[in-house]
Symmetry: D2
Subunit: 345 residues, 4 copies
């Protein structure tokens, strides 16, 4: 059994880790920390876990995480970087669901996240935890930077085309839509039910942290300079993410060949479902599951390809992906404990 | 492996059976019938099942259900009664998720459901599939009448008090609220998103089919005549049911004793969670899980006891309960394949 | 033109007052105070008001409210009582949308609201602003205590029966459901979209401030001691309130006579719509309008009468009712500026 | 008073016309037809209209629409073309909310709408009812083709840039999102609450009828060939539309000049609100109102301009726009009866 610790279990990625790990056959939940909720049984905060998780939250200083085999950080940016060096030194693997290790470039990190990076020496070693594009590195990693939710959809949609050198890398557009849980479990007026329900809006159009992360990753797959317009929107639903990606083809290629390219790219990816050409994937088809679905379109058979990508932002976009990485890091079957069927309706 | 057939797999209880049974370790899905969708892969209608269910719908006359070990009827009222006799004769167990076998009294059935009963000779044998109140009978049953969603909450809330003879059986009030999926997957204006969202209303206040079902079952637990006011309402949510039950105490009893009564009654019930006295259970704490949660209140410490009961209407209120019965009928662990953690948020 | 000031314009009752008053033909909006938002144009916070309201918020000390004809307090409990005496002394009428003047009994107020009352000498004079039960007093009032949202529905539903001495006053049950906007525009986790959407729960079952308010008002209409069980629930919708009221008849009376009683009681009430016997009013039929609708039921023609009452909690349940009072206090047509048709769908 | 008839009052554009016209000071509602609902009081179907509209639906053959001054067609495509010629001949003005007269080219119409056009001789005369781009023609029209909801947002967003010849007309992208009421009040599974809630998807990506309509109108404002990628999506909200428009600048121009271009274009447009550069308009800021709001963005100060456009699809996107046209056709103030403030929250 893998001994697992979770730092910061009171947010949505934390409770989602608990949902997945509490029924994972090879995991023993060992500790869940929360400074504010020390002593509170986890199931008192999240009654969905009554009878499933017996642990209580512990204050960070009351628990020795170095006895864990792996520690997940489901914390705000900046927490993992403070604790990762000691844990790694003690032989504990670390998976950070925040952004501390997503950007290789320290300066870019500090510019977008407005905090100094306290262990830049780990940036190079950290492995970007998107197994479909990075599986071998994940297997061998000590330290995982779990990708952002939006970047996961953008990379899995654009990379096959970029790698095959079929599109204009300087004219990528991602019009993306997220459920409200992406904003986290924080007391804020803007994500109140009465503010977000029966409403739709864009946000962060002038600049969002997921742009530099995505561009840096996409750049790995092409020699041409990547330019990306990324427009996130807020959808009145709890879970779910839908990215509508637009790319301009630079080569004459048939729809069949495009479809085959994607099917070939993901033929061994248990969690990527390439739907038939022209399909319209729905976010609810992934609700609660670790599967990402995508489908290709070619409006008017012109030179623009449209890729529709959906996932559950809390599973494949966060906690499920982290567990997928854990499975690989410990030599387990990649899909272990992640076979939940989506909840439809 | 238990060979399972499903008659009528295109509705919400059907797809929910598929979600649960596709990952049940002892089940082999053998056939799913649909007159209208013959030949259509199930996963084309429900993309959540892509990669999970490979079956296609079959027209009823193209499949031999007598080779199954058990057949679930996820159909409108009247279908199961037409096919059950032949299946039972062939040694197949039958679980009907509709109302055909819920009422022992043929006349009452015909009055409320407006169709003649075609096999009244089976009414006596049919077992009402509420394991928490009826476990031994379920184990030995060939034919299960799976309870209605509302009646499940009302019975599990009222029965401990009735059995202990603590309340006035002639003055029961159940103010119940259901998510919209309870209305089924039928093309109707009244349950369109634009009609049901951002709205709340009562319906069927002058009379609902779940009243006679509930009264007949409650009557089994008391010698006094049961009278029930049942007021159902429609909530703008997909899944979830909340019944607020009011009963008048006829005996002086402490809150502690009331609480202990419920805890004792359900101490062996894996799927009934008696929360601490004064709790407010939320429907989402049961979303996608087979657990029913309840909590007791005593406003102003007066003579009225209020019982709050929540469940997922499609799981404990329908398909999960049916699978729970199947487990018992085949001598399996009652909880097998039903350990899903609720999806929160 | 009536010069109107609003204290506390940043909450939902505040912005709703602005929506109504900005198009009221006899009103001139003069000042809107907010300590935190001093200088911010109101339409920057609420873009729905762009082009409709040109005012900016003012810090309380920068504006002289004594020049207004009437001041509305759309503030937390405790604010109006601090400022009302000086305003009244200056000849300004005051309408408090909070609870400061709703309870005549100082002790009861302090017990439920946990703050000392700073001007108990005004409690006797304050008029409870429910025009349908209190029209003449409202017309002559200097100081209005605008009723709570739940109490409005409970009183308009129970009072005709109590006045006619038809029901058991000691066994009233109100199972009430409110949209989330009733919780106000406050940064809190429990009313986040991701917590409240696709969910249903009761709250405050052991005791809610609207119980003593309602009981005290109901008591005015009967010589018998009133006892009320009040169970509020939270519905995943923005606006709307549905109270399901249960009362036990003590007299033999026909359904026709019951219906006539209500129709007669409210025949001059422009904002109370008595629907045909057996109707199921929907909250959305009142969305954005000042109309309250109700309908009577008599399950099984027994001795329990069920009254279904719906309203928009922010209009008839708060700001619309306040404007209705203002109209009466200034000798205007009661319905002036309040003729909006509900937004359906 | 203008005598108004409505053909097809049982859909969402019909009931929205009733909401607006029932309080329009210069309108007398004369007749509402419905073949199926003959004799039913309108307020029985739409209780929001109780006390506001006393009319009953009439079968088409029982009412003489030629006595009206204007007739609105809130019907499926194909109905207006059958009745318009006779009404026009009788001197009645006609406003069609469907697509019968939106496309000047008969062949294009028949290709997209799959029905023969029965009065192509009126196509030339019909005026496209988008007053902001067409006001003088609307004033003088006998026959109005009310624009589609999506096309309204796309035109008001793209036209200023096209007219000024600032963008590449051959590379327009509109990523658009609509509330579910846009699908109409029809009994269909795909728009049930349980299918559409807590879900997000694209639809019609391979081709949508609003593309040829929009392209034809945009083409009027540029000599260059227009090419448009249009991707509609369904949002789990009742009302509201958000179009995210992408255009490639072909000229070097400052953000200030872009902003000024839009402000100048719409300075006399009472219903177009150009928000400050970089704003994020929300659909709810237009809920129930006839205002369309838009804001400009320039990601990374590059050569792509992003225009965010919101409106209420049933008001400015349908019935409100139709009433706006009526006002102009009858020489009334353009804003008469259309001053409703949006319902927020």
């Amino acid at each position: 059994m893998i001994k697992v610790g979770i730092v910061g279990g009171t947010g949505y990625t934390g409770v989602e880790l608990l949902r997945l790990l509490s029924v994972h056959p090879d995991v023993e939940l060992t500790a869940i920390t929360s400074r504010k909720e020390d002593g509170l049984p986890v199931a008192d905060m999240f009654p969905s876990l009554r009878g499933k998780v017996d642990l209580a939250f512990s204050a960070p200083d009351k628990v020795d995480l170095s006895k864990c085999d792996v520690v997940f950080f489901a914390t705000p940016h900046g927490v993992a970087m403070a604790q990762a060096p000691a844990l790694l030194a003690a032989g504990v693997k670390v998976i950070d669901l925040a952004a501390d290790f997503r950007l290789k470039n320290q300066e870019t990190f500090e510019q977008w996240y407005k905090i100094p990076h306290t262990c830049p020496e780990l940036l190079e070693e950290a492995v970007y935890g998107l197994p479909e594009l990075n599986r071998e590195a994940v297997k061998n990693a000590r330290l995982i930077a779990n990708p952002g939710c939006y970047p996961t959809t953008m990379q899995l949609g654009f990379v096959p085309l970029l790698k095959a050198n079929l599109i204009d890398a300087s004219a990528l557009i991602a019009d993306a839509k997220s459920g409200v849980s992406g904003a986290g479990r924080k007391a804020e007026i803007s994500t109140l039910f009465s503010e977000s329900s029966d409403n739709f809006k864009a946000y962060g159009v002038s600049g969002h942290r997921h742009t530099p992360e995505t561009v840096a990753q996409l750049q790995r797959f092409t020699g041409l300079p990547v330019n990306l317009i990324f427009t996130p929107h807020l959808v009145p639903m709890i879970r779910g993410m839908h990215s509508t990606l637009y790319a301009r083809l630079t080569t004459d290629i048939s729809n069949e060949a495009l479809q085959e390219l994607f099917e070939t790219t993901y033929k061994d990816a248990a969690f990527v479902d390439v739907m038939p050409f022209g399909s319209h994937p729905e976010t609810r088809s992934t609700r609660g599951s670790n599967t990402l679905r995508l489908a290709l379109h070619r409006p008017n058979n012109g030179n623009t390809v449209v890729i529709l990508v959906v996932q559950d932002n809390l599973v494949k976009g966060a906690s499920g992906q982290a567990v997928q990485c854990m499975n690989l890091m410990f030599g387990l079957e990649e899909t272990l404990g992640l076979q939940q069927v989506a909840l439809l309706p």
